[in-house]
């Protein structure tokens, strides 16, 4: 099956180029929403961070090469290992895999772009600026020094008064926005934009793994965001979330951090595993063995990964019986991991291997990840973990899992997909040298760390006493790390050479099986001139005559569009209208940067300016331009809107609601956790029980406001614009009244956020919800303005549906908050 640009339809190709091409000037560089350009930028930027994180590692290893060295002082060393971990986890691994996902997913599923191209561009700009914010800690001479996990109380105001940790935590909150919107975009793209016929049993495994990873992103990141936000509140305004003297608890940080942190291991690993599942079948010339088992393993690993966070806390004093459950759950992950191993090995066993560089890296991954998995099972056993916790054994384990499990597949992916991205092949001889030096260097660097850890060498020390076996082990590790650096230099040289002089690849140099190889290398801006119709799991190995989905050429060349399909069976439903390029995503990211920079500098005027700029950028983004007008059209060309609730935009808002709800769950869980940990009643005895009258009035106003909003939504579904406006205005006024009532309630409180942990939680949770109400008010104000300009009709009112969903969620979240903060306080006290 080959679908490269059809020479027989030059007018179609010219038309597609006209509507999909970005401007070729500097403005076009900033405004482009082409997923391939954005994906390539993610990859390039993440690679730069990989080099920076690698240099930090090399300095550390040089310091540790011999005992008692003073190449760097202890504080600098602490800063280096913090930035090394932070860079590799947050600024290299996740964005790099997002980059590959961005570039490849639309091509693999036969779509012309991601579901939300502008959100995609926004995510990239936020990632770059968040990385910049974190790395500004170098010129500011204020490196964070608390490790990539930033345990409290060490990272709290008492022990880290300098601003390094603020660069870290604000940078992570900022970066979390990019990761979350990226996850939402992947989920909706994969659920709704697959080529007709690509039912879930025919999806490439890389796409499956990106999907489960994206789900993990959407539901794991909120916990980190909440943890970091509470830390900043402790540091900035003196709240007591993590301060035992004020009723807080440092273990709350660990719970919140690791509820994110452990799934994050799989967020990093899963796309890489998907790369291996893509590479292996191509180079053994047979379909993957155990496709359902690999899908099952991916889903289970991510799901179970959410339930094992406490195995990072085996040594902090949790009840032993509880540790038993978490130990059992940790062991359970060995089942899906074993399934994956068995499927990959069986695939190699059953095929005829072509020992290309990409295949070598994939096989190297299997060996290393097996070793990392085995030490993972060892660490899942409580008695063993207690012996080696916080030692170099753990450092060895997670580098085998993360470097072996992610970097090796990544380099395999470079060799496999570079021809698709550039149109040229990387040199195979340099590739083999790249692999051999990396494999030897990796094992030389990290295997001795197992032994060093067993001998008692602790993590995060800048030196060690001489005259023991640790001397030789550390020297070996340092030699290995520099060999890895040599390997990376070989790769960069190969890339630089091949980009200009590599052999021309053609559309499909590997005789591959998935759809990205069905189009030219590099792919045209519109990906496919005709969207393929998928009839098997390996469409390019399908012997049947290729088919394409029916799409009116005049429609396809008059606007940016791709197919919208049903989530499970991928039945064609709509021609989805895609937006044009826009400056709004870059502006919104820049506005957020101003806001976060203001927070970092504790300069409230800048914070306020950033907030205003963010609102302005969002309004600019949402405001329809002439080019964007035009509905998604049903496949049957009937002149009606698609079925309500089915549009990608609606799914995007629903997922945003999901991620936001997770943040509320994390906050409310923190409320009950600290209440449970308190050795007194909750609220504490010195705080009066919350009164109910004012909150009940406010609740009635907020919940009641959902009625006019729902009424307005129904009205516009019938084409009644007047009632739409009346409903929106009444709902707006009721919610504004709720905020006023809440303001009065705040004034009557006899405690403040700084009083104790209860006060901190009460004001944080209610004001966080208040911010949601404000956001809903802004959105409805935009709707009213658009409604007054006659921009909504019976067929075109998706924005109303989306805002209504958000509005109802804000009301629903208040129900949970009211029950937790007001009603439970009547019972628990």
């Amino acid at each position: 099956m080959r679908l490269a640009a059809d020479a027989g339809v030059p007018s179609l190709v010219r038309g597609l180029e006209r509507v999909w091409e970005s401007a070729h000037d500097e403005a076009g560089w900033v405004t482009t929403t082409d997923h391939k350009k954005i994906g390539a930028r993610y990859i390039a930027t993440a690679f730069v961070f990989f080099i920076l994180g690698g240099i930090e590692a090399l300095v550390m290893r040089a310091q540790l090469a011999l005992p008692g060295q003073a190449l760097v002082d202890p504080a600098t060393y602490d800063g280096l290992f913090t930035m090394h971990g932070t860079t590799m986890i947050f600024l290299f691994a996740t964005p790099m895999l997002s980059g590959f996902g961005n570039y490849l997913v639309p091509l693999m599923i036969g779509a012309r772009d991601m579901a939300f191209p502008r959100l995609n561009a926004f995510g990239y700009w936020v990632f770059v600026l968040a990385g910049l914010l974190m790395y500004l800690s170098f010129p500011a001479s204020s490196l964070p020094q608390n490790g990539w996990f930033a345990y409290t109380p060490l990272s709290g105001p008492a022990y880290s008064p300098e601003s390094g940790i603020d660069f870290w935590s604000l940078g992570l909150i900022f970066l979390g926005i990019a990761t979350t919107v990226g996850g939402i975009n992947f989920i909706v793209t994969i659920a709704k934009l697959r080529a007709p016929g690509m039912s879930v049993d025919r999806m490439p495994l890389f796409v499956w793994n990106i999907l489960v990873t994206a789900i993990a992103m959407v539901f794991a990141i909120p916990s980190l965001t909440v943890a970091a936000a509470l830390l900043e509140l402790d540091r900035y305004i003196g709240t007591h979330f993590y301060d035992p003297a004020g009723g807080g608890n440092p273990l709350l940080w660990q719970h919140l951090f690791w509820i994110f942190g452990h799934p994050d291991v799989y967020i990093i690993f899963m796309p890489a595993a998907g790369m291996v599942s893509s590479i292996l079948p191509v180079f053994v010339r047979r379909p993957i063995v155990g496709y359902p088992a690999l899908v099952l393993a991916s889903v289970l690993t991510i799901a179970i990964g959410f339930g094992v966070w406490a195995h990072h806390m085996f040594a902090v004093g949790l009840p032993v019986q509880a540790l038993g459950f978490f130990s059992a759950a940790s062991m359970l992950i060995a089942i899906p991991a074993g399934l994956q191993m068995a499927a990959w090995i069986a695939t190699i066993w059953a095929g005829r291997a072509l020992w290309s560089t990409a295949f070598l890296f994939a096989v190297g991954f299997i060996v290393l990840f097996l070793l990392g998995g085995l030490t993972g099972v060892m660490l899942g056993a409580l008695p063993f973990d207690w012996q080696v916790t916080d030692s170099y054994f753990v450092v060895a384990h997670f580098h085998y899992v993360l470097f072996g499990g992610m970097v090796f597949p990544l380099f395999g992916a470079f060799y496999y997909w570079f021809p698709k991205m550039s149109g040229r092949l990387l040199d195979e001889r340099l590739g083999v040298a790249n692999f051999v030096t990396m494999f030897v260097g990796f094992n030389l660097a990290f295997f001795p760390m197992h032994i060093a850890g067993m001998l008692g060498m602790p993590r995060r020390v800048y030196t060690y006493p001489g005259g023991s076996a640790l001397d030789a082990l550390n020297l070996l590790s340092t030699a290995g790390s520099f060999l890895i650096a040599v390997s990376v230099v070989i790769f960069i040289a190969n890339w630089a050479w091949a980009s200009r002089r590599g052999h021309v690849a053609g559309a499909d140099p590997w005789a591959s099986n998935t759809l990205e190889w069905a189009t030219a290398s590099p792919p045209p801006v519109y990906n496919f001139d005709r969207i393929p119709m998928v009839r098997s799991r390996d469409p390019l190995w399908d012997k049947r005559t290729p088919r394409t989905a029916s799409e009116p050429a005049d429609l396809a060349t008059s606007r940016r569009q791709t197919f919208g399909t049903s989530p499970i069976e991928a039945r064609a439903e709509t021609y989805l209208r895609m937006p044009m390029d826009s400056l709004a995503p870059a502006l919104a990211a820049a506005a957020l940067f101003v806001l976060f920079a203001g927070l970092l500098l504790k300069f409230l005027v800048v914070v306020a300016l950033g907030a205003v700029l963010v609102i302005a950028a969002v309004v600019l983004w949402l405001w329809p331009t002439r080019e964007v007008r035009g509905a998604h059209l049903p496949i049957d060309d009937a002149p009606r809107a698609i079925e309500p609730g089915r549009a990608p935009g609606w799914w995007g808002v629903a997922l945003l609601v999901g991620t936001d709800a997770t943040m509320f769950v994390a906050l409310l869980a923190s409320y009950f956790y600290l209440g449970f940990a308190a050795n007194a009643s909750w609220p504490p005895p010195e705080i009066e029980r919350p009164k109910l009258l004012m909150p009940l009035i406010g609740s009635a106003l907020l919940l009641g406001s959902s009625a006019p909003i729902a009424w307005a939504e129904r009205a516009i579904a019938r084409g009644d614009r007047t009632r739409l406006l009346i409903g929106l205005v009444v709902g707006w006024l009721m919610s504004a009244a709720f905020l006023t009532v809440q303001g009065f309630e705040y004034l009557q409180k006899t405690f403040a956020p700084q009083t104790n942990a209860y006060g901190s939680l009460f004001f944080t949770i209610t004001s966080f919800h208040g911010l949601h109400v404000v956001s809903a008010l802004v959105l409805v104000a935009v709707l009213v303005a658009r409604g007054l300009r006659g921009q909504f009709s019976r067929d075109r009112h998706l924005a109303v549906q989306n805002v209504a969903l958000w509005w109802h969620f804000v009301g629903g979240a208040w129900v949970a908050i009211f029950a937790a903060l007001y009603l439970s306080a009547q019972v628990l006290r």
Binding site: R202, P292, V320, Q321, A329, M331, F676, A677
Partner: protein, 104 residues
Amino acid sequence: MNRDRLLWLCVATPITAWAAQLLLAYFLASLACFKGIALPVASHLVTVAALIATVGALLVTRRIRSDLGAGGAFLASVSALGAAVLLVGIALGELALLFVRGCA
């Protein structure tokens, strides 16, 4: 309930049951250790409830599988296999409950 919704319910139930058993077991162990309120039978009841929910989802998945399209049937199969693995997980949790005791 239509078949698609039933399928999604069957996909979600086993993982929810396993997670609920884990979280409730953690909560009950903490209650016993930090507040002195021991409810040993409750932990076992949670296990039984989780097992019933998971087996139920597995059986329903098998029953509706033949009524679904190719993609739905695939999801049903993966869901049933997943339920089987999570049954092992729930049983492992119960073993931990039976054999690991104490607070510190």
